[in-house]
């Protein structure tokens, strides 16, 4: 077993434990912190896959922005933290069965695929994936249209979020 495989297995174990904690822990602040652990594990995997730029934006966007947004939202709805009632629906076992079925179905589909045990092709030595990604995002032959649509979507979502969560003066309860 090579060092790379051991690193992968350790990362995967940490991610799975953290993911299970995200969906089962009672305290939502802790759930958000466990989510950060999972996201960091994904950043490690991106680095192992030689997608350095993805690892960086995973840390900056997901951990730096989205996870912090979650923590803010938990604190703004803080009353629920003191809730001692059950955190899971009464039908949680049905959800567990469905999740297990989903997992076994996915593994079954993967098992029937030829390329499953393929090793990675050699990484081209002169190839700069960040440069190629930047060119792909703005080149008219590649992905400039989805890129622009994504930016318009982000703008619309942010304006919508400000409008929805904005507290009008005098309407405070």
């Amino acid at each position: 077993m090579t060092a790379e495989q051991i690193l992968f297995l350790v990362t995967a174990a940490v991610m799975l434990v953290a993911a299970v904690s995200v969906v089962t822990t009672r305290n939502l602040i802790h759930a958000a912190l466990w989510l950060i652990v999972t996201l960091f594990g994904a950043a490690v995997l991106f680095a192992m896959l030689r997608a350095g730029f993805m690892a960086v934006i995973q840390v900056v966007v997901y951990i730096g922005a989205i996870a912090i947004l979650f923590i803010f939202a938990v604190m703004l709805t803080r009353r629920e933290l003191r809730d001692r009632g059950p955190q899971l629906n009464p039908g949680w076992w049905l959800a567990a069965i469905l999740a297990l079925l989903m997992f076994s179905g996915l593994v079954l589909v993967l098992g029937g695929w030829q390329g499953l045990w393929a090793a990675a092709p050699a990484y081209p030595s002169e190839f700069d994936s960040v440069q190629a990604l930047g060119q792909a995002l703005v080149s008219p032959e590649a992905f400039v249209l989805p890129f622009e649509v994504a930016s318009v979507l982000l703008l619309a979502a942010l304006i919508g979020a400000v409008y929805i969560a904005f507290q009008r003066k005098g309407k405070e309860e």
């Binding site: 790379e4 495989q5 991610m15 799975l16 993911a19 299970v20 995200v22 969906v23 939502l28 958000a32 989510l35 999972t38 994904a42 995997l45 991106f46 192992m48 896959l49 997608a51 993805m54 997901y62 947004l69 979650f70 938990v74 703004l76 709805t77 629920e80 955190q87 039908g91 949680w92 049905l94 469905l98 999740a99 989903m102 997992f103 996915l106 993967l110 390329g115 499953l116 045990w117 393929a118 090793a119 990675a120 990484y123 190839f127 994936s129 990604l133 792909a136 995002l137 590649a142 992905f143 989805p146 994504a150 930016s151 979507l153 982000l154 919508g160 979020a161 400000v162 929805i164 969560a165």
Partner: protein
């Protein structure tokens, strides 16, 4: 050398755990946390296919970047909705948010 299947099975497991969170949790913010787990699993899949099929074609990474943008948009709107509902109803339990107009 790590085979592609390790990445795919890990992300299938993460996706299923996220699905369990979405279906089983009561708190609306916890449901959004489950959705984040699922999106993250999808991103691991996309980037590992980029690496294992043809690293010179950037399709997988571009798709993952767009998933990042959509996830950010989804979280911003979702949490704004949760906060807005909390202000009016004083609850974030999904079961108790059962009126379309109040």
């Amino acid at each position: 050398m790590i085979p592609l299947s390790w990445y795919l099975i890990l992300s299938a497991a993460l996706f299923s755990i996220g699905l369990f969170g979405v279906l089983a949790r009561k708190n609306a913010i916890a449901i959004l946390l489950g959705v984040e787990l699922m999106m993250n699993a999808v991103n691991i899949n996309l980037v590992s296919f980029w690496r294992y099929l043809d690293p010179t074609r950037m399709d997988g990474q571009v798709f993952a970047v767009i998933v990042f943008a959509v996830a950010a948009a989804e979280v911003a709107v979702g949490l704004a909705l949760v906060i807005s509902v909390y202000r009016r109803r004083k609850t974030v339990i999904a079961d108790e948010i059962d009126l379309m107009k109040w």
